[in-house]
């Protein structure tokens, strides 16, 4: 469960306002035109951007002033999710202990997580010898090890081909349900994720609206959404 209470954040000259709540075990797509603040929204939740006003709550607990490490949140980016000089196993193990000094229990959790994403056979590899899909799976395995409550995905599959994208999306859905996560997924393919997500947030001109059900999103008459979906005649 995540709640943004009238948050206002600034980075450079850009201001983002949000006010919404999302329940646990739910997968929410974050949509909107480029540069409208989708990534900023994730940065606010993860604690990379400071709040000017308002609060961010996770399971009712105010984390507004907490450092990124103190928040039960994991973020997966489009690229650079892995440290290039560390093996797959070490990259996942970082989720358990940044010092890489792991207890036996931690070690078995790392092994389990790697098995869960289907990478048990590649643990010794360095990231540059993995495919794009495999790299993102490593990142997901680290999310599992971290036992986060909130998962933030910033266009994580944009560089993958469509078949792989569908497969990875299903993996995210399963993880969200299984681990009772609250997942926010920034994407540019509303049609592709329509059937898989529970909610949709729309970010435009620094303002977050929603959440709304996918059907409601596509049926929404607001000019901004219509323009985004390409439904208005351009002239």
């Amino acid at each position: 469960m995540i709640t943004l209470e009238n948050t206002v954040s600034k980075r450079g000259g850009f201001t983002l306002k949000a006010n919404f709540a999302l329940g646990e075990g739910r997968l929410c797509a974050v949509l909107g035109p480029s540069g409208a603040g989708k990534s900023s929204l994730l940065n606010v939740i993860a604690g990379f951007d400071d709040l000017v006003s308002g609060r961010v709550l996770i399971d009712g607990e105010d984390v507004s002033r907490a450092s990124p490490a103190r928040r039960p949140i994991s973020m997966v980016f489009q690229d650079h999710n892995l440290f290039p000089h560390l093996s797959v196993w070490d990259n996942v193990a970082l989720g358990a202990a940044a010092s890489l000094r792991l207890t036996e229990e931690d070690k078995s959790r790392v092994d389990e997580a790697l098995a869960r994403v289907g990478l048990a056979s590649l643990t010794a590899r360095k990231p540059f010898r993995l495919s794009g899909g495999e790299r993102q799976r490593v990142a997901l395995a680290r999310v599992l090890v971290r036992r986060s409550k909130v998962l933030l995905l910033d266009e994580p599959f944009a560089a993958l081909d469509p078949g792989l994208r569908a497969e990875m999306l299903q993996e995210v859905v399963d993880l969200t349900r299984e681990q009772k996560l609250t997942t926010l997924l920034v994407t540019h393919q509303p049609e592709e994720i329509r059937a898989a997500v529970d909610d949709m947030l729309f970010v435009a001109a620094g303002q977050v609206s929603g959440p709304m059900a996918p059907a409601a999103f596509f049926a929404n008459g607001s000019p901004a959404i219509a323009a985004y979906l390409g439904l208005t005649a351009r002239g």
């Binding site: 990379f48 973020m75 000089h85």
Partner: protein, 493 residues
């Protein structure tokens, strides 16, 4: 292609010398006291390199994390020590720490400490600039992940920034090592007769004894030593993967703790205290001696022409080397520093002695040697730029059928522009301050600012020499600002 050409130029230069060696060589080194010279050369160069590189990383890191008013200016000023002929820096350091200086006795200038201090003065700023560039390439996502994974500052450095530095360290360290190993003016003026480097011994055999075989033997010792060390450093810092990013670094950076911030400020201040007072001392003692007579204008014009020509050629040679970015290219870019320029020059001279001796020949030879000596600086800077061109770019360009000039203009130039400006500047500044090539080939009244400065010193004209040194510094300063201005304008466009 260019690798081959550079190698050819060098080997051609050595060829006539090997003929001497084959006919008159005597390999009994022990009898000539070569061993202590080798030990001293290694000792002073290794210590100077270690301090310059470690402190250079620390200062670069601190500069990147600690924004302060004047940071951009400070970074530009760090380019200036490289432009100073060694004797100008020596006199600058003497103005501060010498027996007659502002702070006499703070540092024991005459002796080993003085040699290392002078080497660090020259090389730390260069290290800081090159490492700053490497660190800037660290991807924003890495810092975000590190913050999320609760990594401390040390772990963040280890996992996010170190992988960026690693490939740069081998390059920068070998460059600094070579510069220090070839120390001549600094070693003798601060160390006296006991501070004999291989370079001094080579100079003696080539000049005073005109013993070409021995000069070549000593050069081969230097080549073997430097080659081994460069290979070892390259092995030690070998990295099989590095991240590349085009994202500007203004993104998320962890907030340093109070203690780190204090340390950063202390580091920047220390670097400033090392560099700025010497620059100021050179300017202060030179401003009243600043003069603009006919030779000044002539030297200024010649210096600029030579500098520009050398820089452009250095850049053309550095381009394919930086693009290939492999061990062979790296070694080739350093070739002119591994081989003592005086030895190379002698070889070239023997080869070309059939040609009519003329102003143009002297000019061309100075440009050729200067551009080879500036090559490592240009290559180091350009390499950093080429690393920003990702495989995605490459694929995209191939897909679009972009080749030759179009590829250069559309794909490479936009990414490389700031690096090109930087490389051109470094090569030019390096050539402007050079005395080696002009001493070896400078006949027909070719007068540059450093050779004018030297001539004035040689004629009791200390005040005028100080003025010329200050002018050289001012010109290099102006060029630095111009290059940055050009690079930045394009960045913002």
């Amino acid at each position: 292609m260019v690798q081959g050409l550079v190698l050819c130029a060098l080997l051609l230069g050595l060829l006539p010398l090997f003929e001497f060696l084959a006919t008159q060589g005597d390999w009994n080194f022990a009898a000539h006291g070569v061993w202590p010279v080798v030990v001293f050369t290694l000792k002073q160069a290794l210590i100077s390199t270690l301090i310059s590189v470690v402190a250079g990383i620390a200062v670069a890191h601190a500069l990147l994390r600690q924004n302060f008013p004047g940071r951009a200016l400070f970074l530009k000023l760090l380019a200036l020590p490289m432009a100073m002929p060694a004797i100008v820096a020596v006199l600058g350091l003497v103005s501060l720490f010498g027996n007659s200086g502002l702070l006499p006795g703070v540092v024991p200038l005459y002796g080993f400490t003085g040699i290392v201090l002078a080497h660090v003065f020259f090389n730390l700023p260069m290290c800081a600039r090159l490492f700053f560039q490497a660190l800037q390439a660290a991807p924003e996502e890495g810092f975000k992940l590190a913050a999320q994974l609760n990594m401390g500052e040390a772990a963040t450095f280890r996992h996010v920034e170190w992988p960026q530095l690693q490939p740069a360290i081998a390059r920068v360290a070998s460059l600094v090592f070579l510069l220090c190993a070839a120390s001549f003016v600094i070693a003798l003026n601060f160390g006296g007769a006991s501070a004999t480097t291989l370079e001094v011994a080579i100079y003696q055999s080539l000049r005073l004894d005109f013993d070409v075989p021995r000069a070549l033997q000593l050069s081969l010792v230097q080549v073997a030593l430097s080659g081994t060390l460069i290979w070892l450093v390259a092995k030690a810092f070998e990295s099989d993967a590095f991240a590349v990013s085009l994202k500007p670094w203004q993104g998320f950076r962890p907030r340093p703790s109070l203690a780190t911030r204090a340390l950063n400020i202390a580091l920047v201040c220390a670097a400033a205290l090392l560099v700025l007072p010497v620059l100021l001392a050179v300017l202060a003692s030179g401003l009243q001696g600043l003069h603009f007579t006919a030779p000044t204008w002539q030297a200024l014009g010649t210096s600029l022409a030579l500098g520009l020509a050398s820089a452009v050629i250095a850049l053309l040679l550095a381009w394919p080397l930086a693009r290939a970015d492999d061990a062979a290219s790296h070694l080739i870019s350093l070739a002119a520093m591994i081989l003592p320029p005086a030895v190379m020059a002698t070889g070239w001279f023997i080869l070309l002695r059939g040609l009519p001796d003329s102003w143009a020949l002297s000019f061309a030879l100075i440009v050729a040697l200067n551009s080879l000596m500036a090559l490592p600086f240009a290559a180091a800077t350009l390499t950093a730029g080429f690393r920003k061109i990702t495989p995605v770019h490459e694929r995209l360009a191939s897909q679009l059928g972009l080749q030759g000039l179009a590829r250069l203009r559309i794909v490479e130039l936009p990414v490389l522009r700031p690096h090109l400006a930087q490389a051109l500047l470094m090569a030019m500044v390096n050539s402007l301050g050079d005395l080696t090539a002009i001493t070896l080939f400078g006949s027909h009244g070719i007068l540059t600012l450093p050779s004018l400065q030297q001539a004035e010193m040689g004629h009791y004209r200390g005040a005028e020499a100080a003025g010329t040194a200050a002018l050289l510094l001012l010109v290099c300063g102006a060029l630095t600002f111009l290059a940055h201005h050009l690079a930045e304008q394009h960045d913002h466009a």
